[in-house]
């Protein structure tokens, strides 16, 4: 059957007898855990962040189970602390860390190449080139982990994770051994005295892994014409096969450590050696370090962004031409946008209106940096909004402090925002934090988190109370506000009050779940409409950047003011009734009463189910 790379990794984990898997959602990795959660034999969890996911999987491994942690590339940075020490201890049950890299930054803040982590942590890394290998390598990774007493990394990239190709399924086999701890303090207690000894062990392990790499069946030599020999692997192998159908190939299934003898033999058989790899010259540098000179590497293959058959053809095929554009005019871009009725829109609108400096974070609201909202001035990594806001507040004067806020989503706050907020309270920062609580991890496609009240399988559980949490971290109760962002006037007032206060303030959006979260919203409102007679064409509503509102120049001409005067306009706003769900923002923004609903009163937001709270 056809499986995506992510589905195939999940299937491989199931077939390998995995008992525990944990993750934090992040493109392109999210579907791995979502698929694993559909196998009832595996205890699957969304963790608050990747470090938590990693540590939980470590614990399950320590207790003897086969365990998996999956995350996007930047998530490995979060998990790196325990990772770089568990490599010293080795494993009890098989332990696999899946890193899903995102070359081209389809949905990421950087495009780091996580093959470096394998070398850094001195662990083996397998890299599949299609879904069949994604499944097979996942299974093999658990065997390697147990055979060599090491965590194993499995690296996928967006084009492997999100491409589908045929996979032959196998049965599930659980290793025949009891679950339980093995008491071995010199192996599992990383005191300096013990860790010093373990460092020697893992260097010896790496030598054994190098020998294993020579025999790994996932490495393939395909000899054809010997004028060009291509060393490649992962998705780059598939692209190179399209462009060099007659060349000889050494396809690396193990990205680290490298099979040195195999590479030596291959290089000896071909005239010219090409290393074709996406992102960094990782293999190239390590092969050069073995003493070989290469004909092609990053001197010709682009270093930034994804590779593709088109890119390789442009570099290597002199007869290839990208077709001439037959349409000369500009094509209006269609970037991702906040949805009609999105609760973030109101917050960003108010922040822009007040000309505040906004530290943003990682989530849908990062799109608020784009026109027309343009209400974001910095965004780095998960939780950084609060962190950088703290430091900035310590060097700004009172006026500067009152013109700065940070915004962070609920899931991102629980991932990495709690300790920076603690830092703010602890160091008495004069700063304002806005938690955009939309009841879900929205950008990655609606995953549960510790604030939603549900687990990955939909089971009810406790839900964090953000106000109580802020209080416990040391924020003064008078500085903790909950406000419905769809009520623009009220929200504006609260932002004004809190930014003028001394001390740390926390504003939490209330009754504002993600507009796509059908679990939370029982009914949307009737669509609104623009009154063609009174619309002045001022375009203020268009500043909201709502996909349901458009500008109609065909309505240019005259309009009537409230007191009956006739004036000229350049056009009117129009609301698309198919897209509008009556959130009411444009109704509040319009100063001429030209936006109307079926009923006289337009509610602030939608009809909601009660939010899950502290089920016990």
């Amino acid at each position: 059957m056809l499986l995506s790379g992510n589905e195939a990794i999940a299937r491989g984990a199931w077939e390998a007898g995995v008992l525990f898997a944990s993750s934090y959602p992040g493109t392109p990795s999210s579907e791995i855990l979502e698929t694993i959660a559909s196998y009832k034999e595996i205890k699957a969890e969304w963790a608050p962040n990747e470090k938590d996911a990693f540590m939980s999987a470590m614990g399950a491994m320590l207790a003897g189970a086969r365990a998996l942690a999956s995350m996007k590339h930047v998530g490995v940075n979060v998990a790196a602390d325990p990772f770089l020490t568990v490599t010293y201890t080795g494993v009890n049950g098989g332990f696999v860390l899946v890193t899903a890299d995102d070359p081209e930054l389809h949905s990421s803040q950087n495009e780091q190449d996580n093959r470096h982590y394998a070398k850094f942590a001195k662990v083996p890394m397998l890299e599949p080139s299609d879904s069949q290998e994604a499944k097979d390598f996942t299974k093999r990774a658990f065997e390697i982990s147990e055979a060599f007493d090491t965590p194993v990394m499995l690296r996928t990239v967006t084009r492997i994770s999100h491409s589908k190709s045929p996979v032959e399924l196998g049965e599930r086999t659980v290793p025949d051994r009891p679950i339980g701890f093995v008491r071995d303090e010199s192996k599992y207690v990383m005191l300096p005295a013990y860790a010093r000894q373990r460092h020697k062990v893992i260097e010896e392990r790496l030598i054994k892994l190098k020998a294993f790499a020579e025999t790994f069946k996932g490495n393939k030599v395909e000899m054809r014409e010997t004028s060009i020999g291509i060393i490649t692997g992962g998705i780059s192998y598939q692209y190179a096969k399209e462009i060099f159908p007659n060349a000889s190939f050494l396809k690396l299934g193990i990205a680290w450590p490298l099979p040195e003898r195999m590479i030596k033999e291959f290089i000896g058989k071909v005239d010219k050696v090409y290393v074709i790899e996406e992102l960094d010259p990782f293999w190239e540098e390590n092969i050069r370090a073995m003493g070989y000179s290469l004909d092609v590497g990053k001197n010709m293959v682009p270093l930034c962004g994804e590779l593709s058959p088109t890119i390789l053809a442009k570099v290597f095929d002199p007869s290839y031409k990208v077709p001439e554009p037959v349409y000369a005019g500009p094509i209006p871009p269609r970037p991702p946008n906040l949805c009609a009725g999105c609760p973030h829109r109101a917050v960003l609108y108010v922040l822009k209106k007040n000309k505040l400096y906004v530290h943003g974070d990682i989530g849908c609201y990062t799109l608020g940096a784009l026109p027309p909202l343009q209400a974001m001035n910095s965004s780095f990594s998960m939780g950084s909004s609060i962190g950088v806001c703290e430091g900035a507040s310590q060097v700004l004067n009172k006026d500067g402090q009152s013109k700065m806020v940070c915004v962070i989503g609920d899931s991102t706050f629980l991932h990495s925002g709690i300790t920076p907020l603690l830092n703010m309270a602890f160091n008495k920062a004069n700063a304002t934090v806005i938690i955009l609580d939309n009841w879900i991890t929205a950008m990655t496609g609606a995953q549960e988190h510790p604030g939603t009240g549900y687990t990955v399988t939909g089971e009810e559980t406790t839900a964090v109370d953000y106000a109580e949490l802020a209080k416990a971290l040391g924020v003064a109760p008078a500085n903790i506000r909950k406000v419905n962002p769809y009520n623009i006037e009220e929200f504006d007032k609260v932002v004004e009050e809190e930014t003028s206060k001394q001390g740390t303030s926390v504003i939490i959006t209330a009754d504002a779940p993600c507009v796509l979260l059908r679990r939370a919203i029982t009914a949307y409102n009737a669509p609104l409409s623009v009154d063609e007679v009174s619309c002045t064409g001022c375009r203020l509503c268009l500043e909201l950047g709502c996909p349901a509102i458009s500008w109609d120049v065909s309505k240019a001409g005259e309009y009537k003011t409230k007191d009956g005067k006739v004036k000229k306009r350049k056009g009117t706003a129009v609301i698309d009734t198919m897209l509008c769900n009556g959130c009411g923002l444009c109704y509040q923004v319009c100063q001429f009463g030209a936006i109307r609903g079926i009923k006289a009163e337009i509610p602030f937001g939608f009809q909601l189910k009660k939010k899950q709270k502290n089920v016990s």
Partner: protein, 196 residues
């Protein structure tokens, strides 16, 4: 340097069912005995964004993405999106396009104009350009949402794969209550393509 695979690019706007249409195609080709690869990018708030899916089938397929200039069939659910993918096409590409227009935000804001000369450009440059009023056909059958299936039906007329395999793949991906509508939509799509 081509690999001999058949390349289909399905494109449109988020929410139109581009991914489902390409899933049905990929399932069909696998069922018909071919090697298949299919690729699209998920992530970010894709509502209203451009969506495209590459589907490739043949005896052996390596890359999951199509080389520019080598698309055999371009199936598009929104007029302007057709323009975005023309550099993936050659003169011999067969284009199936729905007439639906969805304004992007920048057009809504009046800062750019929706291209007006799309049909003329396509007619002048591609011998095999066909308008399939998929959304209208689907709406007449009961739901505009089946427009993607109408388009898949039209494509099926151009490929030598048994209609029953298509229908099997289609229905396997849908809940029972939608079977009747989508079967009709698929057959209407087959009927919508003029003989050539």
């Amino acid at each position: 340097m081509g690999s001999g695979a058949t390349n289909i690019l399905v494109a449109g706007v988020g929410g139109q069912g581009v991914i489902l249409a390409s899933d049905i195609m990929a399932d069909t080709f696998l069922e018909a005995g071919y090697d298949v690869k299919k690729s699209e990018v998920h992530g970010m708030a894709q509502r209203g964004g451009s969506v495209s899916s590459h589907v490739r089938f043949g005896e052996k397929v390596y890359s999951p993405i199509i080389k520019m200039g080598e698309v055999n069939y371009l199936c598009v659910m929104e007029r302007m999106e057709t323009l975005r993918w023309l550099n993936y096409c050659s003169k011999s590409t067969i284009i199936l396009m729905d007439e639906v227009e969805v304004n992007p935000p920048i057009v809504n804001l009046g800062e750019m104009e929706y291209p007006r000369d799309i049909e003329e450009i396509l007619r002048n440059n591609f011998k095999n350009f066909h308008i399939i009023p998929a959304a209208n056909i689907a709406a007449e059958l009961g739901s505009e949402r089946a427009a993607n299936v109408v388009l898949a039906g039209a494509l099926s007329m151009l490929l030598d794969i048994d209609q029953e395999i298509w229908l099997k793949s289609l229905l396997a991906r849908l809940p029972k209550r939608l079977h009747e509508l989508n079967k009709k939509a698929f057959l209407a799509g087959r009927a919508a393509l003029p003989n050539f």
